[in-house]
Symmetry: C2
DNA sequence: CTTGACCTTCCCCTGTACTGGAAGGTCCAT
DNA sequence: ATGGACCTTCCAGTACAGGGGAAGGTCAAG
């Protein structure tokens, strides 16, 4: 399978496939006599795994770790569980941060609706913030 | 006031002050005979405004817009209200996205806790994802 | 034999908000 | 006059996940 075909069936681009290879996520495929990349069908499953992992918000570095474990012949189950747990903690923190920021911004907006604009002063730029 | 002093009283760094000048957030200050930047005291209020705006999650580009309006002699009140409203919409979207992702990841983790690891298969890499 | 689609490597660019460091100039005290 | 603290400009890099485009090679069809 050539790179364009793999890109199409996996729903990505040739640029991304070369980038993944460079980043160590995809093994370097065989080459045809003309120098073209010639992918084995298994590459598609691997790309699906990468896509699913990305959907879960894992970074390419984390995905590479999982793949490295698998490629070393070990089942990465425990590592994946740890990653998911850590990711959940990150998400909770991010959500909490954004909610706190939301409160701040909502309060600024509410103040802006009630405060007299003439009390703005040029040196302070804007008293709404 | 020299750049180091302004950096200290405003709680930032000289690097950042030069960067803000370059980015059009701070007007280029007077220079001393020796070529040193010589800030007027008003610079501090402007930096406070920038800091408050950053706390509200505004980008430097948005802050610059507000400052440009103010520097054109117009009170930026309406623009700031619009910005805050838009920011609130962005935050709501971001929070909703992260919460959806949290659900996805939580479900993956829960599945990982119950599914038999021996059903993993090397080509799929990991059935938890 | 040529055209066009596809492929190759290579290097730079995107956006965000800075940060690090080199080479050199200024100022004040000793 | 010399040391050290401070300042100047300029260049390059950080993290993230690719994207853009140039210059050139390959392959099947007409």
């Amino acid at each position: 399978m050539r790179i364009g075909e793999l890109a199409q069936v996996s729903g990505t681009t040739t640029k991304t496939l070369r980038f993944y290879e460079e980043a160590g996520l995809l093994p370097a495929p065989e080459r045809t006599a003309g120098g073209y990349r010639d992918y084995a069908p298994e590459a598609l499953a691997r790309l699906d795994f990468i896509r699913r992992s990305r959907t879960a918000g894992l970074t390419l570095a984390q995905i590479r770790q999982v793949l490295d474990i698998r490629d070393a012949g070990v089942a990465p189950c425990q590592h994946v569980q740890d990653l998911l747990e850590a990711r959940l903690g990150d998400l909770d923190r991010q959500i909490a941060d954004l909610q706190a920021l939301r409160h701040t911004v909502a309060r600024l907006r509410d103040d802006a609706a009630t405060v007299d604009p003439t009390s703005c002063d040029a040196t302070t730029v804007c008293r709404y913030l």
